[in-house]
């Protein structure tokens, strides 16, 4: 009886959602056909016919995907040329990060503020010394050896964490009543938004050193990081400005009427509301930034995608680039999808019914 009822519900749902008009029926049929011709063969290739274990290309039948390839190069894909004996340092930092993040998602946890401060200010310092070494008895690992997913995460996390506050300040600056502050903010934002990221990276790696006095030089990774950070900040600034404009003027007036200072008004009243409204836009920028980190390949830094391209040219393993790209795509998708879900969760959580 209940089963019968359910199937009638299903039919009704299908009728109203899939076959409500002749055009929709046509679209449904086309979609089904596309799914039919693409999904089963992909599953066949990626899962059913795939080879999972082995240590060389001879272990792959080549009828399906050769995941042995990914397994063989896994260390390089994850850490680039980071010395194998030192990889534990990266892992310790990962564990620290995940360990500190988990309590933030537990609703009853009391010291969230402290933990956030730790993540923002202490964790980066610990990680910096872990990664680079050359102190506390750890051997030096030059940034030119950093690579793979590790480098992608370093660039994108530093970019994300640093660009948000810079972007917020730029957005406030742009709306400032002080002409010099607003002119500087507008100039900065428009210059950085007006150039492609690839140009920024080239400038930072090729042009910038030419302007420096002789003998003075910054690490290439740091230059790229600053470039990515400022580039992203300009976008964040515009997203945040959109949110600022959407906060009713009455909110500022109410705060001012209570005698609150500019920074208190902005920090306690305007920003929380503005940021909440632009969460989708901010996360959108972060996702774009995460994917744009692949451009560092052009200045000789080997992130996840760069590493995949390099190992694709290895003479022993020619012809497996499809597996490499599919795997890279999957990792990028997993991170971006995670960010997107988290932003939806955040929006729901912060909704207070206005």
């Amino acid at each position: 009886m209940s089963l019968n009822g359910k199937s009638i519900d299903l039919l009704r749902w299908m009728k109203s959602n899939l076959f409500s008009s002749s055009l929709n029926t046509l679209l449904t049929i086309i979609s089904l056909w596309i799914i039919y011709v693409s999904v089963p063969p992909f599953i066949q290739w990626a899962l059913l016919d795939a080879n999972w274990v082995g240590s060389s290309r001879d272990d792959c039948s080549r009828e399906g995907a050769c995941w042995v390839y990914i397994g063989f190069w896994f260390k390089q894909i994850m850490y680039g040329r980071y010395p194998e004996t030192e990889v534990w340092r990266v892992n310790v930092s990962y564990i620290l990060l995940v360990g500190a993040l988990i309590p933030l998602f537990i609703s009853g946890f009391k010291h969230k503020g402290l933990l956030t401060l730790f993540l923002l200010f202490v964790y980066p310092i610990i990680s910096y010394f872990l990664f680079i070494g050359d102190s506390f008895g750890l051997p030096l690992v030059e940034t030119s050896l950093w690579g793979g997913l590790f480098l992608t995460l370093v660039i994108s996390l530093v970019g994300i964490v640093a660009s948000l506050p810079i972007g917020i300040l730029l957005a406030l600056g742009r709306r400032s009543s002080m002409p010099i502050v607003s002119a500087i903010s507008i100039g900065f934002i428009e210059i950085w938004r007006g150039v492609p990221l690839i140009t920024v990276l080239f400038m930072s790696s090729v042009m910038f050193p030419l302007f420096l006095p002789e003998g003075m030089n910054f690490d290439k990774l740091i230059r790229a990081l600053v470039g990515v950070m400022l580039f992203s900040a300009a976008y964040i600034a515009e997203v945040v400005r959109g949110g600022l404009q959407a906060v009713p003027k009455g909110q500022i007036e109410a705060a001012e009427a209570l005698g609150m200072s500019y920074w208190n008004t902005m920090g306690l009243i305007v920003m929380p509301q503005a940021l909440k409204m632009v969460i989708p836009g901010i996360v959108n920028s972060f996702i774009a930034l995460f994917k744009d980190t692949t451009l560092v390949l052009t200045i000789g830094l080997f992130d996840l995608l760069g590493t995949i391209q390099i190992i694709g040219t290895n003479a022993d393993w020619l012809g497996f680039h499809i597996e490499g790209y599919v795997f890279t795509a999957f990792i990028f998708w997993a991170f971006c999808f995670g960010m997107s879900r988290y932003s939806m969760h955040l929006e729901k959580k912060l909704h207070t019914g206005h």
């Binding site: 009455g250 705060a255 209570l258 909440k276 019914g353 206005h354």
Partner: protein
């Protein structure tokens, strides 16, 4: 009702000849539009003044100048002897002593009612959190909604929100309260609860400036009613005189229009 009649004479006595607010020849323009024309007004401690007039007459602008939400361009405004200039230090100092209630409530939607009330005491008055919360609960009880403390503004009715807004201002322990059409955005059945809270405040001797069309409130509470039109103060009288014996034609017209129904 009888309580009001009893109490009113007592408050009358508390008015002293001690000017809290003084406006000397204040002018203001919005672009080419001359909103305020030569406004002269003195408000003494404990005085309750109702400002009325047709829309666009500058009455909101006038009280918004008193806490510098609008800047006047000519003339002088003194609040408790301190002159309002562009100097932010003075402005913030005066705003701490002058509470304001807005037509649209302007509660902070992302904060609970309790946080709405404690925010300024904590950040501006530097009160410890616990003290601020006790203070907040005291005023929430006074406006008769302590049970709403942990809700968000969006979950309250308009009348409740406006009472919270009054309590929020009172938490700063202001010496003067400005009301900018506090009941104009409310459904009719909620007007009384807000007016009651304001009447109670009047009984406590608060200095009040109120822009409103609630003539009943003006009659029971005000010491003086000011009628404004086209940026000028046209008539300024005690309520009984004002309603029974208006002198200016524009005042007569206005009164006939709002008292007609």
């Amino acid at each position: 009702m009888s309580e009001q009649v009893d109490v009113q004479p007592n408050i009358e006595q508390s008015i002293s000849n001690d000017p809290m607010i003084k406006l000397n020849g204040v002018h203001k323009w919005f672009g080419d539009f001359h909103v305020l024309k030569d406004i002269n007004l003195t408000v003494n401690r404990g005085e309750r003044i109702v400002i009325c007039g047709p829309s666009g007459s500058g009455k909101s602008t006038l009280i918004r100048c008193i806490n510098h939400l609008e800047e006047h361009q000519q003339g002088q405004i003194f609040v408790e002897g301190t002159e309002l200039t562009g100097d932010l230090k003075h402005v913030e100092q005066i705003r701490r002593e002058v509470g304001m209630v807005f037509q649209q409530f302007n509660l902070f939607p992302h904060l609970t009612i309790l946080d709405n009330l404690t925010l300024a005491p904590i950040w501006v008055r530097k009160l410890p959190k616990k003290e601020a919360e006790e203070l907040a609960m005291k005023y929430l009880e006074r406006v008769k909604i302590p049970e709403q403390a942990n809700k968000y503004p969006g979950q309250l009715s308009g009348g409740q929100q406006q009472r919270v807004a009054i309590a929020r201002s009172l938490c700063m322990n202001p010496k003067i309260m400005l009301f900018d059409e506090p009941t104009s955005a409310l459904d009719p059945e909620m007007i009384k609860e807000v007016l009651d809270a304001m009447i109670e405040l009047a009984h406590e001797g608060m200095t009040m400036l109120c822009v409103t069309h609630e003539m009943g409130f003006a009659k029971t509470v005000a010491n003086r009613v000011i009628f404004m039109d086209e940026g000028q103060i046209i008539e300024e009288k005690e309520p009984i005189e004002f309603f029974n014996n208006p002198q200016n034609d524009r005042t007569k017209l206005f009164l006939s229009q709002i008292l007609a129904h």
